[in-house]
């Protein structure tokens, strides 16, 4: 039985958010997407310790606090560092990939050019996490 996931999507691009939402509805998945347009917004959402997300999709290239900076804050936080976080980005910069894995990530997904490819990748990622045992909040 697939679990319904609480997903936090941290992404500044409106169309990218639309892509995620449209993918969920297209696939008729029962996951809850919470959107945060900036890292600050995301941190505010994460302050509510009683409703923490199951997984996080994180864009790297964001204004003010970058994805990597946010990741560092997240992984230093006792209450939050357990949350599986996946990078969702267009950057295949080797340095970024390495840095992220060093800090601690649960996946690094490159945004493909074609929407169909995107749908396929997101589907398999969500499927993977929905069959995993997660910390029950």
């Amino acid at each position: 039985m697939k679990k319904s996931l609480n997903v936090l999507l941290i992404e500044d691009n409106t169309i990218e958010i639309m892509k995620m939402n449209r993918t969920i509805s297209l696939l008729k998945l029962d996951h809850k997407i919470t959107e945060a347009k900036t890292a600050d917004e995301a941190l505010k959402i994460l302050e509510k310790k009683d409703s923490l997300p199951d997984i996080i999709f994180l864009d790297l290239n964001m204004p003010k606090i970058s994805g990597i900076e946010f990741l560092s804050i997240l992984k230093k936080d006792e209450d939050l560092h357990h949350i599986p976080t996946m990078i969702l980005t267009t950057s295949n910069n080797k340095k970024d990939v390495l840095d992220c894995y060093k800090i601690g990530i649960s996946g690094y997904i490159l945004k493909p050019l074609k929407y169909e490819d995107y749908v396929a990748k997101i589907e398999s990622a969500l499927n993977y996490w929905s069959i995993n045992e997660l910390k029950i909040s």
Partner: protein
């Protein structure tokens, strides 16, 4: 008988009687005279006898008291008489023993002795017989004998007498003299100076080999002795640079008879001679003169070249841009050059005699300077940097090259330092370091920037793609064929754009070597590429020879081969496509080739294809950046790239990778 006959006879008789009477008278007179004379003679005879007796006894006394040995012997050599000196000389005393002179003869002189004795008996005397004798005590002595034969009144030889002089000591002295004369002669003969000794009559007394050599006289010096040399100057004047002056000067010297030493004479061939003229005086009497000539050309040349060298180096030292300071063991300045004065701000007068560190105080590191000085005094040369304050209190960086200074005995007496003001160089060095750091930083930034830009450019493409996809799916069945085709074109354009951005990113990162260097086995790289590259079945890829292992960035070598190979595959138009990869090893580089049998490239495009964004074919995979990346990487490894191609037959790309750069690039 006729009367006339009788008369004649009578007259004759008469003359006879008269004559007899006259004769008788003369006889009588003569008899008387004779008697008188005989009387006188008797008297004088008696006188003579007395005289003789007197002389004999006188002589006897002389012989007895004579200082030289004297002896008388009979003709068989038996000694009859000898004086005390003779007894002393020979050690024999004939009062007690018999002595024959033969016993005295020294064996080697026997022949000479008998010859002389023979001469004595023939001629009645000999003089200056010089030989050795053996005394009774077996001592050998040199003697000189003058001897004569003694005759009786009938002039028969009866004995011989001789005066013997002991010349042993004279002889020894003479030998010594001879030895030293010989030594002197050979010394003079082989003397480095040409020597000519003339007597007062211009006759050569002595000369030597060197003299003959200098004056080009082609005979042995011995042959010249005794020759007249009054016109020899005239004969050899052509050897001299100024022949007339040479003659005039010789005449002048001979006239003045004054000693002149070390006078220079120039020969025509450039030889420089030094001449001594030494008159020889015995008391006040002029006895000849000595010429001595010495070849000093070499000495002079040494001196001149030494002088030239000295001037040369003095000039260099004075005018060089490096400061020079010479100091003694206590660090007191002995000598400085102009540059050092300019560097330090002090004048030479202000510096000389002062201690260096008093005038030019070091900033920190006095210990180092002391250590270096210590080393120098031990004979070590060294080079080090110091910081000091000059006269204007400005901090300067100097590079000092110090070396110990030695005296003629080879003892260290101080140091010589060459100083270079490197203050500006130091500043530049620091600036360079700073700039390099900034450059590295901006390079990194640029790299990051390229990624960010490519991300920023790629994101909208994704959005457009998603949006068109949604429009299509949202309007399924409502769109006409034309619109759908246009949507497909939008997608193709997006893909092209995406590829372009990726390639630009690759190109921008291909420009710099990172520090990630490793040994790259190209055989493995090629095997991997064969797996990665999309390859239709009709195309075969072959590696003809074993590829080398290079040092560098694996990704860059991979990019080169990947681009060339994918081009070869892309532009294949034959039923059986062939891609061949080969390598040739040269002394300093490897030459690789990637050959295909595809469409080929027209000659006029051969140069253009390596330029960025220059694609010969309009296709969605071809951005015109691939070969630019290849060229950039080959440039990076100090190689060259070129092509050989014929339209429709195929293309071969050649490129080289330098071995040495490749080896050096490991550091």
């Amino acid at each position: 008988m006729s009367q006339s006959q009788i008369d004649i006879l009578q007259r004759t008789l008469k003359r006879e009687k008269a004559a007899r009477k006259a004769a008788e008278k003369i006889l009588e007179d003569k008899s008387r005279e004779l008697y008188l004379v005989s009387q006188e003679l008797h008297v004088s005879n008696e006188k003579l006898q007395d005289l003789l007796n007197e002389k004999s006894s006188q002589l006897k006394g002389v012989f007895n008291n004579i200082l030289d040995a004297y002896l008388v012997m009979n003709l068989k050599g038996h000694v009859l008489e000898m004086n005390d000196a003779a007894k002393d000389l020979f050690g024999y005393d004939i009062d007690h023993e018999r002595l024959n002179v033969v016993n005295l003869i020294y064996m080697d002189d026997e022949e000479y002795a008998f010859n002389s004795f023979f001469e004595l008996s023939e001629k009645g005397f000999f003089s200056n017989y010089t030989a050795r004798v053996v005394t009774k005590t077996k001592e050998v002595k040199w003697v000189q004998i003058n001897a004569s034969i003694i005759y009786d009144t009938d002039n028969n030889p009866i004995a011989a007498q001789g005066i013997i002089r002991d010349i042993t000591e004279d002889k020894e002295d003479e030998d010594l003299l001879k030895q030293s004369t010989n030594r002197l002669s050979s010394l003079i003969l082989n003397l480095d100076s040409g020597v000519l000794l003339e007597d007062e009559n211009s006759t050569i007394v002595l000369t030597n080999t060197k003299f003959c050599e200098l004056f080009k006289i082609p005979v042995l010096p011995d042959l010249l002795i005794g020759q007249d040399c009054s016109d020899s100057a005239e004969n050899c004047k052509h050897l001299f640079q100024d022949p007339e002056y040479f003659i005039a000067r010789i005449d002048e010297l001979l006239k003045n008879k004054k000693q002149v030493l070390a006078e220079e004479v120039l020969m025509a061939d450039g030889t420089i001679l030094e001449r001594d003229f030494i008159p020889i005086l015995k008391g006040n009497e002029y006895n000849g003169h000595l010429w001595a000539y010495k070849d000093i050309s070499l000495k002079r040349k040494y001196r001149e070249s030494l002088e030239t060298q000295k001037n040369k180096y003095s000039n260099i030292i004075a005018n060089m841009n490096l400061g020079l300071v010479e100091s003694n063991k206590d660090g007191e300045i002995l000598l400085v050059n102009q540059s050092l004065c300019e560097m330090s701000g002090y004048s030479a007068d202000e510096l000389v005699g002062k201690r260096i560190n008093k005038l030019l105080p070091y900033i920190g590191g006095q210990k180092i300077i002391d250590q270096q000085k210590e080393k120098r005094l031990k004979g070590e040369s060294n080079s080090y940097e110091i910081k000091l304050k000059n006269k204007n209190r400005k901090v300067k960086n100097w590079l000092i090259s110090g070396a110990p200074n030695y005296n003629l005995k080879g003892e260290v007496v101080g140091s010589i330092g060459i100083c270079l003001d490197i203050t500006d160089i130091k500043k530049l060095e620091k600036q360079k370091e700073k700039i390099l750091k900034e450059l590295e930083k901006s390079n990194n930034e640029l790299h990051e920037y390229a990624h960010i830009v490519s991300h920023d450019l790629k994101s909208p493409l994704r959005s457009i793609n998603a949006l068109t996809s949604w429009i299509k799916s949202d309007n399924e069945g409502k769109l006409d064929e034309m619109t759908l085709q246009n949507f497909d074109l939008i997608e193709t354009t997006l893909e092209k754009m995406e590829q372009l951005i990726s390639d630009i990113l690759l190109y921008s990162s291909a420009g710099s070597l990172t520090n990630e260097k490793e040994e790259v086995d190209l055989n493995i790289v090629l095997d991997d590429l064969k797996k990665i590259l999309y390859k239709p079945n009709h195309i075969s890829i072959e590696v003809l020879n074993k590829l080398p292992v290079l040092n560098g960035e694996k990704i860059k070598f991979q990019q080169v081969f990947q681009n060339l190979m994918s081009n070869a595959i892309k532009f294949s138009n034959k039923e059986k496509g062939i891609v061949e990869i080969d390598v040739k090893e040269n002394k300093s580089f490897y030459q690789f080739s990637v050959k295909d049998n595809g469409i080929g490239i027209e000659k006029k495009f051969h140069d253009k294809i390596f330029k960025i964004f220059h694609s010969l074919q309009e296709s969605k995979e071809s951005t015109g950046i691939g070969l630019s990346i290849v060229k950039k990487i080959v440039d990076l490894y100090k190689g060259e790239i070129w092509i050989e191609s014929e339209l429709n037959k195929g293309t071969t790309f050649y490129f080289t990778i330098k071995k040495s750069i490749n080896e050096n690039s490991t550091t």
